[in-house]
């Protein structure tokens, strides 16, 4: 039972992390109609910057804050230099152009930090476990990640639904030209939104950094998961991204830990041992296929877009 609670929390933590990534992706797509494959590169850049700044300053918190600000700047720079020229183009152009950006970022990171990965070690006050329930211990860091991502999700909700900037973002998503015609500086708005998406990706990357190693290509695997989430949730919907991210996080984590046991009941131990790893990595794609059959536009599609 203790293990089950722990796995559920792991699922929650992974799902919320994926949400940060998917939220940026879906925001950028919903508002700028831009398919950004390079989103995973920003995730990687965030992790590398956090590892570097933490090593420089000697403080985890300071390193994280600096890295977050730097990723925001990198994102806005990418928007100004490249993305701005891709708006209004074909989706295929976005795919190709941002694919070029991935090659560029991967190689740039290799040039600056070398081919070996980095590691980001936790300060002692996070590197412990805490009792979240009587008798149930959980990693303090993972718990902190859950708290931070929930806070960010709440912040996003307030920002998008309750502020003037959020109103403009929502208006921009439904009719770009009209917002521009009403005198809003749409160029600046786009740069801000892209920067926000980049910072969210960077935050996801740097929070994952102490759990996994910081390495080249780390953003690409998780990017595909973020794509699956945006497809399941409905492209452009932040609420959909949250629901789908939690769904994927739980299914992936619980599938990996319990599917082998479950299969052992049904199949012979030998067959179960072979099938389990393949099947558990397939689970979320199966989920996506089911969602597509039932609702081709995703669970929370906004329709008519």
């Amino acid at each position: 039972m203790t293990l089950f609670i722990e796995q559920c929390l792991n699922g929650l933590q992974f799902g919320l992390l994926l949400f940060l990534l998917a939220a940026g992706l879906t925001l950028v797509f919903g508002i700028m109609d831009l398919v950004n494959l390079a989103h995973g590169s920003l995730y990687m850049v965030g992790a590398y910057l956090a590892a570097t700044f933490t090593a420089w300053t000697g403080s985890f918190v300071l390193g994280v804050v600096l890295a977050l600000a730097a990723t925001l700047v990198v994102g806005m720079a990418v928007e100004v230099v490249v993305m701005r020229r891709l708006y209004g183009r074909d989706h295929l152009d976005h795919v190709l152009g941002t694919f070029g950006l991935i090659l560029f970022f991967d190689e740039l990171v290799r040039l600056i930090w070398g081919p070996e990965g980095l590691s980001l070690s936790l300060p002692s006050w996070l590197n412990t476990s805490i009792a979240i329930l009587p008798g149930v211990d959980y990693s303090a860091y993972k718990f902190a990640v859950i708290v931070v991502t929930l806070a960010v999700a709440a912040f996003l909700y307030v920002l998008v639904m309750r502020t003037r900037v959020g109103m403009l973002i929502r208006a921009g998503a439904s009719n770009r030209e009209m917002v521009g015609a009403l005198g809003v500086n749409i160029t600046l708005l786009y740069t801000l939104v892209f920067g926000l998406g980049a910072a969210l990706a960077g935050l996801a990357g740097l929070m994952q950094a102490p759990i996994l190693t910081v390495q080249i290509g780390m953003g690409e695997n998780i990017l595909i998961l973020a794509f699956v989430i945006t497809v399941i949730g409905g492209i452009g919907s932040i609420r959909g991204a949250l629901v789908a991210a939690l769904l994927v996080g739980f299914i992936d984590t619980l599938g990996r830990s319990y599917l082998p046991d479950f299969l052992r009941v049904v199949l012979s131990p030998n067959a179960a041992a072979t099938a389990a790893p393949a099947l558990s990595s397939m689970l979320i794609y199966l989920l996506m296929a089911v969602v597509l059959v039932v609702k081709p536009e995703g669970l929370f599609s906004q329709g008519g877009k």
Partner: protein
């Protein structure tokens, strides 16, 4: 039509160069160039198959490398299990790719636009993880193929020159097939559906079925390229179906010129030769290639074939 335009000259020169390449390799004792171009010809075939759905059908598949892997693994697994005959291996490779394309296509074609891109990408990644999980066949590390596919007497895939010509003949056959398809009634329906799907349905064409058939043909063709690629490398690994490989194929198609039958061949030659040249200049060649791709997207929309055609119009 048969005028001495720049494009015709370049096409003729490229085809002649491809045909005569082994002669040069033999005279210059340059085995490397033959290996490189065998790879180029095989990947050109994969790009030609992608062009059928991407360029003509407007279906932006981002998971085309999956068929390379499926075709390759069909050869690799059968060879590993003691079935060296190409007459068994290749049909299995084609059949498996066709089946995968049928299932993926049936699900993915229910959606359009950016959903289609992401879904094909996700399914291809799923195939990647399945293959990487096949512990018996090497898992992540891949599987070495001890013996290339065996055919009847004179045909020996172990002979580099013979194998090159086999690949080249199959590439030409693929080009002919695509050319015939595109200019047939079937091809016109596909192209009509690309420009306006609703209109095609309104005049009574079940475009979903047409597109699905097109999707399966392209997947099968790419599966053949996968079988060739496995024989070429004597090795299969999950890396050959990783999503960046799908990206490479899209780059070849767009670089060469979408919706032009020969375009992907230009694109494959250009991209792979460029990679070779750049990696000779610097270890960090992708730092040049990436921005170069961006420039192509921004400023050379019709690709190489488009540029050649433009010169003719001026």
């Amino acid at each position: 039509m048969r005028r001495l335009t720049l494009r015709n000259v370049v096409v003729a020169a490229l085809l002649a160069a491809l045909v005569l390449l082994p002669v040069y390799a033999g005279l210059a004792h340059d085995r490397f160039v033959l290996t490189l171009f065998t790879r180029i010809v095989i990947l050109a075939m994969a790009a030609v198959s992608l062009n059928l759905i991407l360029g003509f059908g407007g279906m932006m598949s981002f998971g085309h490398a999956a068929y390379l892997g499926i075709g390759g693994y069909a050869v690799g697994i059968l060879a590993f299990e003691g079935v060296p005959s190409g007459l068994v291996q290749w049909p299995v490779a084609l059949g498996a790719s066709a089946l995968f394309a049928l299932v993926i296509g049936a699900l993915s074609l229910r959606t359009r636009g950016v959903y289609f891109i992401m879904i094909t990408l996700a399914f291809a990644q799923m195939a990647y993880y399945i293959v990487a999980g096949l512990a018996r066949y090497g898992g992540d590390d891949g599987l070495t193929i001890q013996k290339r596919s065996q055919f009847f007497a004179p045909l020996d895939l172990g002979d580099k020159v013979q194998f090159y010509y086999l690949c080249l003949v199959l590439l030409f056959a693929a080009l002919y097939l695509v050319w015939r398809l595109v200019n047939s009634r079937f091809g016109l329906v596909i192209q009509g559906a690309r420009s306006n799907d609703m209109r095609m349905r309104a005049i009574g064409f079940p475009t979903y079925r047409y597109k699905l058939v097109c999707f399966v043909i392209a997947g099968t063709l790419c599966g053949l390229a996968g079988a060739l690629l496995a024989n070429h490398a004597d090795f299969v690994s999950p890396a050959m179906m990783y999503w960046t490989r799908s990206g490479d194929l899209i780059v070849m198609v767009v670089l060469g010129g979408m919706g032009s039958v020969l375009g992907p061949v230009f694109g494959a030659v250009a991209l792979l030769v460029l990679e070779e040249v750049l990696s000779g200049i610097t270890e960090y060649w992708q730092i040049i290639l990436g921005p170069l791709l961006l420039l192509v997207v921004l400023f050379a929309r019709g690709g190489i074939d488009g540029l050649l055609g433009k010169v003719r119009h001026d």
